[in-house]
Symmetry: C2
Subunit: 418 residues, 2 copies
Amino acid sequence: MQPEPNAELDTVVMKFGGSSVAEPKQIRHVAQRLVAARERGLRVVGTVSAMGSTTDSLLELARRVSPSPHPRELDMLLSTGERVACALVAMAVHDFGQEAVSFTGSQAGILTDAVHTKAKIREITPVRVLSALDDGKIVLVAGFQGFSRDTMDVTTLGRGGTDATAVALAAALGASCEIYSDVPGVFTADPRMVPEARKLSQVSYEEMLEMAASGARVLMLRAVELARGRQVPIHARSSFSDEPGTWVQDAPGMEQPIVSAVTHSVDEVLFVLRDVPDRPGSAAAVFEAVAAEHVNVDTVLQNSALETAELSFSVPLDDVPGARLAVERARSTLGPVALEELADLGTVSLVGAGMRSHPGVAAKMFRTLADDEINISLISTSPIKITVMIPRADVERAVRALHAAFGLGDEATAGAAG
Amino acid sequence: MQPEPNAELDTVVMKFGGSSVAEPKQIRHVAQRLVAARERGLRVVGTVSAMGSTTDSLLELARRVSPSPHPRELDMLLSTGERVACALVAMAVHDFGQEAVSFTGSQAGILTDAVHTKAKIREITPVRVLSALDDGKIVLVAGFQGFSRDTMDVTTLGRGGTDATAVALAAALGASCEIYSDVPGVFTADPRMVPEARKLSQVSYEEMLEMAASGARVLMLRAVELARGRQVPIHARSSFSDEPGTWVQDAPGMEQPIVSAVTHSVDEVLFVLRDVPDRPGSAAAVFEAVAAEHVNVDTVLQNSALETAELSFSVPLDDVPGARLAVERARSTLGPVALEELADLGTVSLVGAGMRSHPGVAAKMFRTLADDEINISLISTSPIKITVMIPRADVERAVRALHAAFGLGDEATAGAAG
């Protein structure tokens, strides 16, 4: 059954990632998809990321100019990548016979806070977008950026910000949201790692949040959060085919699988703080400092045995310098806590909305790993996810073993707890 | 004598071309120059072009996406080049210990008409620039761009638009204007062609206009026009040294040289229209059509002998397609005029504010060329310039001969009509 939520809506926001607009040929292809949607009678908004590795090249350029580029200027710099891509797509749309107009984040009314390089969208006032749609135009909105009404400066939303742009625009326009990428949807595991991985036709916001947080790269966490908050259905699908992908939405009537997917990550570093005073406020001191550095914390775990606690948290590689700074700052409150950084670990997670009523899932997961002689360093659970940290070298083996043990490759028995 | 006009002004606009910001190292060098000016107590505005050949690369990208890129989108695309360069310079300024802030053309309040890719500056409302200067910051303004208040769209000013940005900003801010490039000033002839060519310490606006129009590439025609209209002195000087360059300004008391420089151009095509009806309105029909295509016409000449006239005009290579279109359109009014395009000619001009009172200059110029057996296809004069069109292959020889004949390499006898 192909879900068709919001079929009554006539506006669609279509988002294309950087790898979908890396070359002129692909840009024309994206334009064709937008034109096809327009010709089906939809009001069409496209939002695209910078071409290919443009953002990385701009970052590299900034680092060659300055050891620590000024954040405001970094945003001025990085925001150009999406503008280039949008203008090019708009040109190509014209060539396919439809009118198009591209807008920068600020022209599209995307208002953010003033936290440069990691701004959050506060509000969208899409006056010019609506007016262009009313004129029958295909509208391109530069992803990944907005502007702060306080400072009137250009801001960027951080990595994956274009997904957030798409969802926020869809919410503001009452549109559905299609997120195109080089993968055809959300899979039961990374297909490059598990050949028999299966595309899911639907996942709930909650499951998608856990998957995104634990390594599935199809959708960015913040975009899913935004979508859940505003109940915007997301259709994650392939740039290269018309096949349906995966719908991310809440569909109350449906039976929820016990385990939907195995996800993994090998891009994290585990910070372990020892000798943390076991008193109220210790964890707060650490995570306030971490938040002040705008570090994204994934897993957090605290073992409090005696008079001092052990506090562990994992952060993405990019955020390691910020996390170090935060720990340094927290030491002024906590005293001389010991810090260890573990960079040779990876995480593997089982995600499934149905597991909250099936306590046997964790036991089966640990047994599967034990049978494969994979040692677990850390366990962390949420109601619908179990995450283990294991040696990075064992991640691929663990993913395959768990995918097989929970029968995720088999449509009929998918997710059976055994 | 080194002229020091506007020494009482404390604001300076410093413009750097694309070749001065092509690499991170050069960007830091530009930042150092801005910082040095700030540390001498000046209020400093920098305006820079896109890095190296960025604009050409973006144009090439546009052409790979679309055979005829939509002008509005082309402006969105091209305007990013200067934003990148400005943001990078601002970052580098921070590293040298001064505060800096970069603005896009629209943030800097550069209002233009809505003629995409060739917009003209209408007005500057530099509210944010002034406020940042008051805060002691070095302000970077993205060159070559502005925005239309009518459409709220980003516009670009066409080739050399950053010079226009600099002059218009200087006028709006009551500042002096320094234009830095890889040449140390305005020369009596192209030094690559004439080794004994001499740097001029001063030229009048009028002379500079004629030089720019006839091939001198140090300053763009429109920037000089703007400067003359607003009486903004321009100091054209080298990015690589602190030596004074050439001041472009009107200094009434000074004696004006008879001949200041020999200029040349080999990038033009001569359009010759034959059998043009010799009646009022013929030339208007042609040049209205030409203006509608925003083609820059250089030399115009009409010979009206019998019942039909011959009308010739030269256009830069870039504008040839537009000129063809314009002629096609004019034929509907004029009837079947014959068109010939001559692409193997070049122009050589003598420019000098003093020549208006020395009629012997033309005769000496033609004699010099005749002695070198260089055939003249077309002659066109203004009160302070004589231009000849000659075979392109003879241009270099003609420039050398004229430079020598008028003694331009020799400070003492410079410009003597002989």
